[in-house]
Symmetry: C5
Subunit: 309 residues, 5 copies
């Protein structure tokens, strides 16, 4: 595996990590279509757990089969495939070595819906190691009354992951009674959520694309008085990247359910232009038939790679 | 112990498990009347704990004796016998090696009835090993406010069980304030519950036979818009099997208290036709006299084996 | 220590236990006046903790001294003496080897009275070992909202006790908001409580003598439709014994505060006639002067031994 | 270190303890002015933590310095000095070997005042060992809704302390919503609190001097019907000593803030006459200038030793 | 590294600590501009976590880069740099050995605001060791209903830190429903908070500069009756130093957001004159451009060193 200069540069930001963790981070950054560019597109498939199987896979029933997502990630040239324990166990031997795997260590369902959510621990660092994963994934909910417990648990798992040479990927999703619905994706809250994940020791941070909404009054005052540019999506991406150790941590973005592919492509362009490191794309890819999914993901990777406008 | 091609095929779905766990899974799939067919009938006797001894055993007082159930499981040709610690301790030496045993690791009583139930931990992986069990059993209650704690604990026990070469059998029973009474057996909820159990790393999943009810509005919308066929019981079984990694995890079914044996047989036919892997039959078998129980279980196994219509 | 056939028979029911545990169980069954008969009378003195010292010992102030109870148990020929940590520590060296000891591992006081009680952990398996005990004692409160936590903790302690060759004695006392006051000693609830203790792995189960009250509607229906005989005290004892693995676990009984010695003797006759394994007698023995206590306990043992009508 | 017969007698009550623990108990009983008499006066200085530094030390500012209390304990001939971690760490090297030390393992402040108090764990058995202490101190609040958790934690710490040859000193202070304000020092409650501490394995029990108040109705009935003498302070001390294993555990007493030295001396006389083992005297000693404190403590010790009336 | 007499004197106060911990404390006291004087200025940068990135760094966007703060601490001659895990991980290799580091082990955000705050555990002693830190930092909130849990956890971490030769720095910040807003910085509460931190085993205590407000009635009475001088800021600093083991523990102070640099300098003069050991200065330094920050910090250090009036 040859390492590009850009990958080498990114690895240089993680001076406190072991060669083992850097090796696994290099594997993610060197895999797939975008390998070596410093950009990543990750395929996450935890929607079966999060929303139920029919809501996730009825639109493209091939997705009921856990092998489908391994294949999709491999054939589309994704940088990594992230899923809960069961889905990874069901394909890790068959597809061993073909795509970097991230074991999602916590999950949540919607069979009961809490105002202040928390997640169940559904996997371990040892599970990640026995399944050949490059890293672990973990969700935090800044804004939930349970957030501090989630941070505390993440730290424990991250310490164990790092001691075992794994990469730590954190999904930082503001939710809960500390925030308005609009505030969950507000730019101040999103930048704050990304910063917290980085402070907790994440190597890779994943947030939702932020809106221009400013949720917290003391923050709003600062954004306005200092003229922090957050008017365009690219500017907001740039601000999130800045808030994540001034670009010295990998930050990737997910969108929500969007109306059209063109909108997604525009979002990807904004991520690219704002200095974001890539996308994590779940439902939008595995809920369409495989040929369309490959084309869709190919276009996105092309935008990042510069081979597609 | 000769392994049939069908058993070999089923074992092939568990590529992340150790030879030790596959050995024990093969033992369950090769035991009893249905050994080698890929179908299973399991005898569970935890009703004494769950509902009290008289409600469980007064109809057939032979069942007060823990040895009775070992004998019933052996003589009827069941694939395995599952029970709490005390019942297994009371016969494991006498019947050692005669029937695969599953130690139920958690249990609940009805001396206090909670809106949002959870279970006590009543056995350990070490207990299962010292009693010669092939696997552990564990109940989760998706829909309960305690569900995330139950998932977290299951994961810990499952990791330990797998590290010790045991099979993990999960009873996934939706209950609690997140669901209506009707919703507990709704097809969307049942399929979701089976999927969660599989994602948590279960090798064998046990759910109740689902009704055509659709509980959750966003799910209902998907079932209807995508025309997921759930009109007949066989279709619903098929959908649950599909939702459990597209048939690559063993799913078995229990009925509730039913009106007549014929109804049970019809349910078994639906499970068979829908691609289900078998039944778990407790009260309906041990609450009748042994000769009738043997005949009843024999008929069910015959339906699965194809020797009975 | 010669083992009688009856003791040998009782030991045969515990096929999953180690020779170490059987040795200690044999010690209890072979000690004192009733040694070898398969019946037991145990002296428990935890009332100082449970109700306070004056309420316990003012009627017979010799009982303030922890040595008194060792002497009483030894001189009266009890099968074992059970007490909390402090009381055992205060005499275990002086009376080493003279009477089987049971360390009560949890206790409760009445300086705050909860609707749903739980107990403090007040001793450990290691304490029991260093004090030379044959077993541990543990109380559960089926019916309390805390019962599942109590079961979970009992299981942990029982596993450790068994791994160290100790006997597990469970006080199963229904209490809490799941039950009416009358229900706490109802026959359905008592039989259920004894069954739960056995399922949790108890070697010896202790319950209160049940009344004819039927607490839970679904149980009442079964008792009535199946004509389970619970009219006389002996019948109710027989039903509890049946509910505890059909007599294959040792079940002993306590009465409440009773009006006269004759009433106690009648209760003992009912336990004997119903197939119960003996009595646990605290306040009724140590709250009278020693000569009277010896006579009283002697009469009870005589009823069990058949030397007293 | 020569051991007197009286000390030897006291040690004989602790037959279940290791030579290591007896050695440390002998050190306390042999230290200072009262060494060898079987009586003790302990200096406790946790008021800085419990009430704040100014309320504790402004009356005698020399007490802000942690060394002051070591010196006071040594020069006054106290049997031991008890304090939280920080205060002991600040002098343990300088005064090593000059006075027996007791590390208080839990503490409470009044910056928030709960109806049902509990304490923070503020030291460990390992801390006690590295600081050269003879024992650990621990407070329980019988009457608080948290009491059972406090007992459970005490038991764990006591087991560890005993395994390491340390003495266990328990402050048993009834408080919380189970008791009226007057009830906290009622004789029934105080005797009960002392009994609980002894049952939990304490070697030395510390309670407040009890009033004649009887808090709990069932206890009141027993005290009255059996004519338990609790009319004078000496009688009440005698009853507490009786309730603590009939005098076979060391019980010491603290007073509250009192009006005059003569009152304190009278209390000490009552403790002496009632068979109490001594006093624990904090604020009343360190809040006056050292010469007065030495004189005050000297008088108290003289009363216990019989050299002062 | 030569040790001055003053540093040697300070080290002598920590007689219960290991040479390892003294070595690290000596490193802090010997580093930077104030090295050897016994005074310290520490740069803390946890505001990104505590208030969000924009509120922290928009005023001086260089601060988004974690390397900036290492450089600022080094170039300004600070005694140490304290930050959460992520910020330290991002520079510890590059700046290894150039400035003593303190890993902040707990943190809090404002995405949900509790009446009674607690913090998440965000780092470990092992993290501090692998990053080459001289010590750990930990915040407690005396006055919060969660304070006792925070003390308990601090004690565990402090014991582990000391066993590994690290220094323990405690941020003692009164907050929560036990206190009025004004009371959080009242002199009685501040002195109490500093005393608690020292009792919990802190080597270095950090509090806010206290106001003359007296929060608690019993304390107010004592301050007034004993005429404790708290009228001027220097007097209040002196009282806090006195309350922290009479000056035998290092106490440093932070101000709040202040109106002018001159006010800060006046506060520093008061700390100096009152016998305080230094300042911890975060926002006031890193929120201005580096040249101004260096000048500002230089002036403060000059006041402490006596080279600036």
């Amino acid at each position: 595996m040859a390492i590009t200069d850009r990958v080498r540069e990114i690895l240089s930001w993680y001076g406190s990590d072991s060669p083992g963790t850097l090796t696994n981070l290099a594997r993610m950054l060197s895999a797939g279509t975008l390998g070596g560019t410093g950009r990543m597109v990750i395929l996450p498939v935890d929607q079966g757990f999060e929303h139920g199987p029919a809501r996730s896979f009825a639109p493209n029933p091939a997705g009921y089969d856990p092998r489908y997502h391994f294949q999709l990630a491999i054939e589309s040239g994704c940088s990594a495939y992230a899923a809960p324990l069961g889905f990874l166990e069901a394909g890790a031997r068959e597809f061993a070595g073909q795509v970097p795997l991230i074991l999602k260590l916590n999950n949540h369902d919607v069979l009961y819906e809490e105002k202040d959510p928390i997640q169940a621990i559904t996997g371990s660092v040892r599970d990640a190691l026995r399944l050949g994963c490059v890293g672990i994934g973990y969700t935090i909910y800044p804004g939930s009354t349970h957030r501090l417990d989630m941070y505390t648990k993440l730290r424990e798992l991250a310490e164990e992951a790092k001691a075992n040479g794994l990469v730590v990927v954190v999904w930082s999703y503001p939710r809960g009674s500390g925030l308005s619905k609009e505030g969950e994706t507000g730019i101040d809250v999103t930048a704050y959520a990304a910063h917290i994940a980085a402070q907790l020791g994440a190597h890779v941070v994943k947030v939702k694309l932020p809106s221009a909404h400013l949720e917290q009054a003391p923050a709003k005052k600062v954004y306005e008085s200092h003229g922090v540019p957050v008017g365009t999506l690219a500017e907001r991406v740039r601000h999130v990247v800045q808030s994540t150790f001034n670009g010295r941590r990998v930050v990737i973005f997910s969108g929500g359910p969007t109306a059209s592919d063109e909108q997604v492509y525009d979002e990807v362009r904004a991520i690219r232009d704002g200095g974001g490191f890539g996308s994590i794309i779940g439902r939008n890819s595995f809920q369409r038939k495989q040929p369309e999914a490959l084309k869709f993901l190919g276009t996105i990777m092309g935008i990042y790679a510069g081979t597609h406008k």
